[in-house]
């Protein structure tokens, strides 16, 4: 999928609000008996997570137990709702998926056995792929910095991670409590642990991100 | 045979409660469909013996339709579930016998689905027309009757497999 798909979503969103009859030359291409449904973002999420988004019946139990619920702009169940209804842009722009800590509380308790944590993974993934602007910038920068360490060394390298993260966010003071303490207690190695097969790991990154 | 003028002969085994009544409704509603299919009424699709179908082909039918109630609507509760299982296996075995499996079709038509009945008959007729006449029946008449015990074996096999899934 490309970033352009989101535009199509917008159109869909508009037509959801006030359905406009499809007329005009396009109509000619449509074989009336074999109407092919558009592959929507909802379908895409269902496929990636191996579960149909329509399973969710909006009971809210997930949101009720979510530990980070209070920090989110919209409730986790509402993100599912937005996707179900085709309001993709609102869902992808929400900071809820980014604040989701992946704790699986929701997935464990969902009466419909809908794996919401996995759903959130897919929403984030698609948001990145579509280049949606994400409000929780620090979180995404953190993930980026973390993955960069693995890409170069094969393992997480904490000093490198913090350095890269700080560079990216210019948030230089935030972690003053821990890093120095850790350093003096000898818990932060100054040099990275490089694995032997770095090439192999790098190639995985390359193949999955195209970079 | 003159392909233009050839009209396929189709036998439809239908259950008394749903499909037969659905066909009545198609009639009452004056829906039109090709005249090729002749219906044989049985009490339940569960009672349709695979041998009936082979017999029909043997008699020169070009296609067979089996139709009963929708899975949860069976007048007899579960009869059509048995039918369904049986046909799954039987379909495969038709191929083995040397009859294109497209010649045997299944559908669920309820008593209120007159339109569906008409559509199904139209579709089956069209499909069979595309397949062309079933000529092997002449061979069946001589050879097939001779190897009838073998067909029995085949049929037995389908039924045993069905048992295993009960």
């Amino acid at each position: 999928m490309s970033a352009n798909d989101l535009k199509a979503t917008k159109k869909l969103q508009a037509s959801f609000i006030s359905p406009t009859p499809q007329t005009g030359p396009d109509q000619d291409h449509i074989n009336s008996t074999e109407h092919i449904r558009e592959h929507t973002i909802a379908d895409e999420i269902s496929e990636r997570t191996f579960q149909d988004v329509s399973l969710c019946y909006q009971c809210g139990k997930c949101s009720a137990g979510c530990p980070v619920r209070y920090y989110m702009d919209i409730a986790p169940n509402k993100v599912v709702r937005l996707i179900q209804l085709g309001f993709y842009e609102d869902a992808l722009k929400s900071d809820t998926p980014w604040l989701c800590a992946g704790c699986l509380t929701c997935s464990t308790r969902c009466p419909k056995e809908f794996d919401l944590a996995k759903f959130m993974d897919a929403v984030r993934e698609i948001a990145i792929e579509k280049g949606v602007e994400i409000k929780q910038k620090n979180i995404i920068k953190f993930h980026k910095a973390f993955l960069d360490q693995i890409k170069s060394h094969g393992r997480a390298y904490e000093v490198g991670l913090v350095a890269e993260y700080k560079m990216k966010t210019m948030d230089l003071f935030q972690d003053v409590d821990s890093a120095p303490g850790m350093y003096f207690k000898g818990k932060l190695g100054l040099l990275p642990h490089n694995i032997k097969d770095r090439k192999g790991v790098k190639s995985i990154f390359k193949k999955t991100s195209g970079k | 045979m003159d392909k233009e003028k050839w009209e396929p002969k189709i036998v439809a085994f239908v259950c008394n409660w749903c499909t037969y009544t659905g066909a009545d409704l198609a009639g009452t509603s004056r829906m039109k469909y090709p005249a090729n299919a002749k219906m044989i009424r049985v009490m339940c699709s569960g009672s349709i013996d695979p041998v009936f179908i082979i017999k029909a082909f043997e008699r020169g039918a070009d296609g067979v339709l089996v139709s009963g109630c929708h899975p949860n609507d069976c007048h007899y509760n579960a009869g059509n579930f048995h039918a369904r299982r049986r046909w799954d296996f039987f379909h495969e075995l038709l191929d083995f016998i040397g009859i294109e499996k497209e010649r045997l079709q299944f559908s669920w038509i309820s008593a209120s689905e007159g339109k569906k009945f008409a559509d199904v008959i139209a579709k089956v007729t069209k499909d069979i027309k595309t397949l062309g006449p079933f000529t092997a029946y002449k061979k069946m008449n001589s050879e097939f009757t001779a190897v009838f015990p073998e067909i029995q074996e085949v049929v037995k096999e389908t039924i045993i497999k069905e048992k295993e899934t009960v």
Partner: protein, 665 residues
């Protein structure tokens, strides 16, 4: 065989597209056909007379009528044939209207098809055998299993229609769950007040034989002719002698030895007990597992105080056998609980609500007892742990219900209503209390139901919060209920004093076993299946067995009672004739051919097939064959298609007949 063929024009309905005279002409020359004619209206009186006359004059053995659908006039023509002396099953109909003239335009094609249809009918009728209706005698007695409100109503209606009833209840008293309820929606009338008179009526009815503390262990036979074996468990009290004075109970030293299950374990009872004050019959039972006499042979206090000498430690379980014509199953439901369940259970428990470890997280029936004037708190709302009056109460709906992850996908249907009732009762008793209800949807589809729920909200100020609760835990004597208001899109946390869970209605524990005993189907949960969800809602698919109340699916009292009356009516219809007439379309086994594989037995949806021993002259069994009970068989023919040795025939639709139809194509 001489066959007559009668082709109807149906005014112009058939003749417009089918050349009727031609059809008749072609048929005339068909082998076996003695006479063929066409006529404008075959079903009219002159038309029928024409048939009768032809039968008599030409000496016909069988007839074929080419007309409208057999569903329209098969009966008409069969009757005409019968009046002229032909067996009704030697009449075949070729459907020339619905299946031919109305659906085709081309006269040639339609006529050709009509000829083939008639020919098929001729070939079939040649092989038809005369059949006669099957008559089975009927025993005029009804067995009602389960003595809840449904069973009580069914027993009373049947008995009032003049038939004998045997009512079997497994508990020491009838009354079922309704006897535990405080007040009932949607009118808030007292449950006991409306139920007790009916319980007494059952007890006193001359036509009802009440067997409490009893269970049905075996059902044999078929419609009109069942035989029921009933186990009457030992009460250790002689029912004839006991006057119900209750002295034994007050004097029994084991005062608080056992949980009182009628009070949903919120109170205790001694070894000898009457489940509740209004119990019917008002006769105690001795619980062997608690009684000291059974433990160590000591005590016997009850024997000393009972001046009627009714205590009988030696009483044993007894077996009774009854002949029965019809059965009404009314065994009711059970309440799901949130406890940790065994790994092999169909259901899972609620770890997130503590698996039942909090004493003040109770279920609906416990709340009924707390709210009941005759309950353990005398109707004062107090919480179980410390007896405090809860100032903040939270009700949670759909607990277990509509929850795939716990194993129950259905809606329990009654809990929306009783939760509204509970909240109202609470507010009526604790004026300064706060009541919250977590719900997903409010299902209040019944007469005055929605109004009832609105009253709770508008008049009694009950706060409904739309969302499922994620967790409950205890903190300093309060129960933290974590939910989300999905309408406001806001998380909600309530520190409740008492939490009431509207847990799911599930089938009785033994329902599947009972279903197998009776021979009726049940769904994946264990609720009994009706024959048709719309048109035969109180009949099981087994002829002569009817269903009433919550054993079929979650039901409230009005529905249970309606079902019970309907089931009683169905049963009395059955008993109203001395013999039962059945269509002769039934299957029959050729015992010589039958290989005894019993595949047929497995597939028969009605359990009509039994194993029969075939004996030689010396009475020694030399093989087992399938035997089809003609009273039970419904004639679906599934067995015939299944039988590998082709040893079953379905009357009226045997293989020969069908092959003939095929051959006639």
């Amino acid at each position: 065989m001489k066959i007559g063929v009668f082709i109807c024009h149906c005014g112009e309905n058939i003749s417009r597209t089918v050349d009727c005279p031609r059809v008749a002409r072609v048929c005339e020359s068909y082998p076996g056909v003695e006479y063929a004619i066409d006529y404008k209206y075959m079903c009219s009186d002159p038309g029928q007379n024409m048939i009768r006359d032809a039968i008599r004059e030409k000496g016909l053995d069988a007839i074929v009528v080419g007309s409208c659908s057999p569903h329209m006039h098969e009966r008409t023509f069969r009757n005409a044939a019968v009046s002229a002396g032909i067996n009704p099953f030697l009449v075949e109909i070729a459907n020339l209207r619905e299946h031919c003239s109305w659906v085709h335009d081309d006269v040639e094609a339609a006529t050709q098809k009509a000829i083939e249809l008639v020919r098929m009918a001729i070939e079939k009728v040649k092989r038809d055998k005369p059949l006669s209706k099957i008559n089975v005698p009927v025993t005029k007695r009804v067995l009602v299993i389960g003595g809840g409100i449904a069973g009580i109503q069914a027993a009373l209606d049947t008995a009032n229609a003049g038939y004998e009833v045997v009512l079997v209840e497994k508990e020491p008293s009838i009354g079922g769950h309704m006897s535990q309820l405080s007040e009932t929606f949607p009118t808030l009338d007292c449950s006991q007040c409306i139920l007790t008179p009916r319980m007494v009526e059952v007890y006193q009815h001359p036509k009802i034989k009440l067997l409490t503390y009893s269970e049905v262990v075996k059902i044999e036979g078929f419609i009109g002719n069942f035989k029921a074996t009933i186990k009457k468990k030992a009460r250790h009290i002689n029912e004839e002698l006991c006057s119900g004075c209750g002295l034994c109970i007050t004097k029994c030293p084991t005062k608080k030895k056992a949980y009182n299950s009628f009070e949903e374990d919120l109170a205790f009872r001694p070894a000898v007990y009457i489940p509740f004050p209004q119990a019917v019959p008002n006769i105690p039972v001795i619980d062997e597992s608690v009684c000291m006499y059974y433990k160590n042979g000591k005590c016997g206090m009850c024997v000393k105080v009972c001046d009627r000498g009714a205590i009988d430690f030696d009483q044993k379980d007894t077996m009774l056998v009854a002949d029965i014509g019809a059965i009404i199953v009314a065994t009711g439901f059970k309440l799901y609980n949130i406890d940790k369940k065994a790994a092999d259970s169909k259901y899972k428990g609620y770890g997130e609500y503590g698996y039942g470890k909090y004493r003040d997280v109770i279920d609906g029936l416990q709340f009924e007892r707390i709210a009941s004037a005759s309950g353990p708190t005398a109707g004062e709302i107090k919480r179980p742990s410390d007896g405090k009056v809860p100032k903040k109460i939270v009700f949670i709906q759909c607990v277990g219900s509509r929850d795939d992850s716990k194993g129950i996908s259905y809606c329990s249907k009654i809990c929306c209503m009783y939760t509204a009732k509970h909240a109202m009762l609470y507010k009526h008793k604790v004026h300064d209390g706060e009541a919250y209800i977590f719900y997903m949807d409010i299902r209040a589809g019944g007469k005055m139901y929605e109004e009832f729920v609105r009253r709770a909200i508008e008049e009694d100020d009950v706060k409904y919060i739309r969302g499922r609760v994620s967790r409950i835990y205890e903190e300093n004597g309060k129960y933290i209920v974590k939910g989300e208001d999905t309408i406001a899109g806001m998380p909600v946390e309530i520190d409740a004093d008492l939490v009431v869970l509207a847990t799911a209605m599930i089938p009785q524990e033994n329902s599947a076993a009972l279903a197998r005993t009776i021979g009726i189907p049940y769904d994946k949960y264990g609720f009994f299946n009706e024959a048709h969800p719309k048109l035969r809602p109180v009949e099981s698919t087994t002829a002569g067995v009817f269903l009433a109340g919550a054993c079929q699916s979650p039901r409230d009292i009005p529905e249970s009672v309606a079902m019970a009356s309907a089931a009683a009516c169905k049963a009395t219809i059955l008993l109203s004739s001395d013999t039962l007439e059945r269509e002769p379309v039934v299957a029959k086994v050729n015992e010589d051919l039958c290989a005894g594989c019993f595949y047929c037995k497995k597939v028969c949806p009605f359990g009509a097939i039994e194993v029969k021993d075939v004996k030689d002259m010396n009475g020694i069994v030399y093989k087992e064959v399938a035997y089809i009970n003609q009273g039970v068989c419904q004639g679906c023919g599934t067995c015939t298609a299944t039988c590998l040795s082709k040893s079953i025939e379905l009357a009226g639709f045997n293989n020969e007949e069908i092959f003939a139809e095929i051959a006639a194509l």
